[in-house]
Symmetry: C2
DNA sequence: GAAGATTGAGGCTTCAATCTTC
DNA sequence: GAAGATTGAAGCCTCAATCTTC
């Protein structure tokens, strides 16, 4: 009993995708969680969290869902952002007494703006190294990879 | 004094690339270094190392270069693989007494084969969710991203 | 009992300092 | 002094257990 894949993906494409994905992860430094992205003095997750919170206050659990992080990770992450004075924890926002709502402070919003600018800089450097005619290709390919990963 | 970018990349593309890249990192689980990839009981770096060593024996420093990992990380990584009996450290391979050569043991080669198969499975699931006509697009886009990251 | 949040223990990676060899 | 390798200290993330609230 075996799986028939004669009509599916050729092995050469599989090997190519593997090596290319690994190469990209390494080159872009995605295997360094505590690396300061874009030259800003914070971790990758802290940057993602602040960016996400810049869209408005959300529940701590929801932040975890969007960042794909565990409850414990989010708890400590939020604690760090709180110590830095970048976020505030509201405990009476929801009718549910268990949920903690996170919102950006004024200082936090300023950090979010700096992060956005720094990250835009890095993306700029990246896109500058890609031919104009290929940029749409890259953007669409990332869309395909994201949606394919979700399934 | 400001930078003129009228002929460069539009901001909409920058924002798009940012969010797409972040989304891909999260969806594909790239922010979890110790996650067992492809269902195999080892870390991401261990899997990468074994895969790299499957091409033949190399110096420990060279392994670090290919994996984009620090000397200390590689030292501990190699130590773990040695404890598991998957690699062997030769110390007289090179004429240089400082260099340590790493080679896969028989057990290590078997692990490499299992990893390759498991990763191929995952890539297969990923590619199956991408339309046939778009697969070349994705592969070329990854090439562009890797080379653009290197510069 | 289930869900949101927190805390303790352990793994992965980095930086800095140290040792050995060149 | 420079380069390869190792060890100590610290940050980030996960799992498991615990507490609170529903």
């Amino acid at each position: 009993m075996f799986i028939d894949r004669s009509d599916a993906v050729p092995d050469t494409d599989l090997d190519a995708l593997q090596s290319k994905l690994i190469a990209f992860v390494r080159e872009f430094g995605l295997h360094r969680p505590d690396m300061t992205p874009c030259g800003v003095e914070l971790s990758v997750s802290q940057a993602h969290a602040v960016t996400e919170l810049d869209g408005g206050p959300i529940a701590q659990s929801e932040l975890g869902n969007r960042l794909r992080l565990t409850k414990s990770t989010v708890s400590r992450l939020v604690g760090q952002l709180d110590e830095r004075g970048w976020i505030a924890r509201d405990h009476g926002e929801s009718s549910d007494g268990r949920v903690v709502t996170i919102r950006l402070t004024t200082a936090g919003s300023e950090v979010a703006a700096r992060i956005a600018e720094a990250r835009r800089e890095r993306m700029h450097r990246l896109l500058d190294n890609i031919p104009d005619t290929e940029r749409d290709t890259v953007l669409r390919a990332l869309d395909l990879l994201v949606s394919a990963s979700r399934k």
